[in-house]
């Protein structure tokens, strides 16, 4: 009886993980498929599609665009989120609760709404759609996340460290640069890594706000329009790999923080 229920539980867990990971596994597996269409049966194994993806100038350009947008928008989101968290943690302001809520609220708004809103705003102000506007869009969606992560790791003991630094003659800028930021490095880097992953594979906003130069998800979407091919699988696998690396990095930093 106990063996049966144990088997049942194990089976359920296997199914659950299969449900979550099977699409990714299939995507990655068929990126090595030796055939023109990514359909079973799987015929191992070739790196031809990776070669094709990486020699496609459009894809490589989109990949570099994506990296640039992700890095710069994450840096902007981290700076804004960190400064907002610092200000709200240190100063007793009227309505700071409301300000906190307003800063976090965009986390619950769909990317489509944010993207459309930005598109309309940029149209009204006469700013052309470009990688810059996409970057701004990504900074908008990632600032609340960075704020939340930084705010969660700012404690009263940090306020005391800042007091000590001021007492020893540090100006506000040096307090930030020499005490607050270094002490919160793990949280800031974790926020940066998470922002990176969100920006890196974000499609809706990038689709609405790019024009001639596009990011990798938008490029993959246009590859898909010409039909399924293991080439898109290879491009998708690269996107996935970069995301995994960034998430692991964030996990490592947050985990190390919790232990210490």
């Amino acid at each position: 009886m106990r063996i049966a229920s144990g088997l049942l539980a194990a089976g359920y867990v296997l199914l659950l993980y299969a449900f979550i990971y099977l699409p990714v596994v299939v995507l990655v597996l068929f990126s090595f498929h030796d055939g023109r269409l990514p359909i079973p049966p799987f015929r191992p194994a070739t790196l031809r599609w990776y070669d094709e993806v990486l020699s496609d100038d459009d894809v490589v350009e989109a990949l570099l665009n994506s990296l640039g947008v992700a890095a710069l928008s994450s840096a902007a989101a981290c700076s804004l989120g960190f400064l907002a968290a610092w200000g709200l943690a240190r100063a007793a302001l009227p309505g700071s609760g409301a300000m906190r809520t307003l800063l976090m609220a965009p986390l619950t708004v769909s990317y489509l709404i944010i993207g459309l809103g930005l598109l309309i705003s940029f149209n009204l102000t006469g700013i052309d759609r470009s990688l810059l506007t996409t970057g701004i869009g990504h900074a908008v969606i990632n600032t609340p996340l960075c704020f939340a992560i930084c705010a969660a790791s700012m404690g009263a003991q940090h306020a005391n460290l800042e007091r000590a630094a001021r007492d020893l003659g540090a100006t506000e800028l040096r307090v930030l640069a020499l005490v607050t930021a270094p002490v919160l490095w793990p949280a800031i880097l974790a926020a940066f890594a998470l922002s990176l992953t969100f920006s890196w594979d974000e499609f809706v906003i990038a689709f609405l706000l790019t024009r001639f130069e596009v990011t990798l998800p938008v490029e993959i979407w246009s590859l898909l329009r010409s039909g399924l091919s293991p080439k898109t699988n290879a491009a998708g696998s690269i996107v996935f790999l970069v995301s995994v690396i960034a998430v692991l990095l964030a996990e490592l930093l947050l985990f190390r923080r919790r232990r210490s």
Binding site: Q157, L161, A164, R166, D167, L168, A170, V183
Partner: protein, 356 residues
């Protein structure tokens, strides 16, 4: 470089409560002042005021005769040893100690050398490369002290610096703090709620209560001849016997007390109205017959405290219960009748109510 400091009628309110109520204080250059009081007495607010972390609603702060009221902590010639030490966890000990020097534009080489000297001063030679988290509480305390002293402040502020240490370490650190202060000659202002600590290290004790200074002066004077009931009881156990002035007898001021008419301690002005005679338990001894004021009574409580027996005596025919410290060999038992005695000169007259 050391400087005296003065606070002139400083008031600080939080809502309707006054954390500091027109407080005035003088600490001469090179003195070790200890601000003593229960929590909520305003002692930490006073220290924050000196460090520039708290702005007074009114009043002035002077350091070395210069008005520093409007100067923030960054530019003030004071440094603080914080209660939780507030060491920078991402820097090694030398960088921690040298932080203030770095802010003053010292180059890395000289400032690390100076940090090593300061660490040696506090008994941590050779620990420059260690990190704060690898230290014990007592060692962190020393690093915090070295860091605050490295910039040669005119006044060093210490906010309950020994609060987190165990008793033995506390006593050892008290001696060390005092020794370092003597050696450097810097003015120290130290906040604590431990009256033994205050008496062990202070040149000047400032007793605070409800945002006011209840008494300030050398520890012997504040302990033996306090000017207020609060200061008298906060410095140590004391018996308070209600007293009223009587007409002089044989040219001597007399007091009417429940213990009977007593000669007033000489040289003390009698306050008008209700007053109290304060008698420390160690001034009440077993009567040897002649001399002093005799207090007969019955023992109602007795306990052995190591250095003495603590006895509570019910005086006869009347009077409030009196606490006395009797010798180790006395061995008094409850119910036993005793005659205690004290020298009128050891007692002190206290106003009936502390001035508001």
């Amino acid at each position: 470089m050391s400087a005296g400091l003065a606070v002139e009628r400083a008031t600080k309110r939080y809502g309707s409560t006054a954390a500091l109520d027109a407080v005035s204080l003088q600490v001469p250059e090179g003195a070790y002042a200890v601000i003593l009081g229960p929590s909520g007495s305003g002692k930490s607010t006073l220290l924050g005021l000196l460090g520039g972390f708290i702005d007074p609603d009114s009043g002035r702060v002077l350091i070395g005769g210069k008005d520093v009221t409007a100067i923030g902590p960054v530019k003030r010639p004071t440094t603080t040893v914080f209660q939780d030490y507030a060491l920078f966890p991402h820097m090694d000990l030398a960088d921690n100690v040298a932080f203030g020097l770095r802010m003053r534009g010292w180059k890395r080489g000289p400032r690390r050398a100076r940090a090593a000297e300061m660490l040696a001063l506090v008994g941590l030679e050779g620990a420059e490369d260690r990190r704060p988290h690898a230290l014990s509480g007592g060692q962190r305390q020393r690093v915090a002290l070295a860091r605050a002293l490295a910039v040669e402040p005119e006044v060093l502020l210490l906010d309950e610096p020994l609060g987190a240490l165990d008793l033995a370490l506390r006593r050892a650190m008290q001696r060390e703090l005092k020794a370092i202060q003597r050696r450097l000659g810097t003015t120290f202002v130290h906040v604590t709620h431990d009256q033994e600590e205050a008496m062990a290290i202070a040149d000047i004790v400032v007793v605070m209560n409800e945002g006011r200074i209840a008494d300030a002066g050398p520890p012997e004077r504040v302990y033996l001849r306090p000017v207020s009931r609060f200061a008298a009881s906060f410095m140590g156990e004391i018996n308070l016997v209600p007293a009223r002035a009587l007409p002089e007898r044989d040219g001597r001021a007399m007091l009417d007390t429940p213990l009977g008419p007593l000669p007033a301690p000489s040289g003390e002005a009698l306050p008008a109205g209700d007053a109290a005679l304060g008698i420390r338990p160690e001034h009440l001894g077993l009567s040897g017959g002649e001399g002093g004021v005799q207090v007969p009574g019955t023992v109602i409580e007795s306990a052995f405290f190591g250095t003495h027996h603590r006895v509570v005596l019910e005086p006869r025919p009347a009077g409030p219960p009196l606490i006395a410290h009797l010798p180790q060999r006395a061995d008094p038992a409850p119910g036993q009748r005793l005659v205690l005695a004290f020298e009128p000169g050891d007692a002190v007259i206290l106003p009936g109510e502390d001035p508001k």
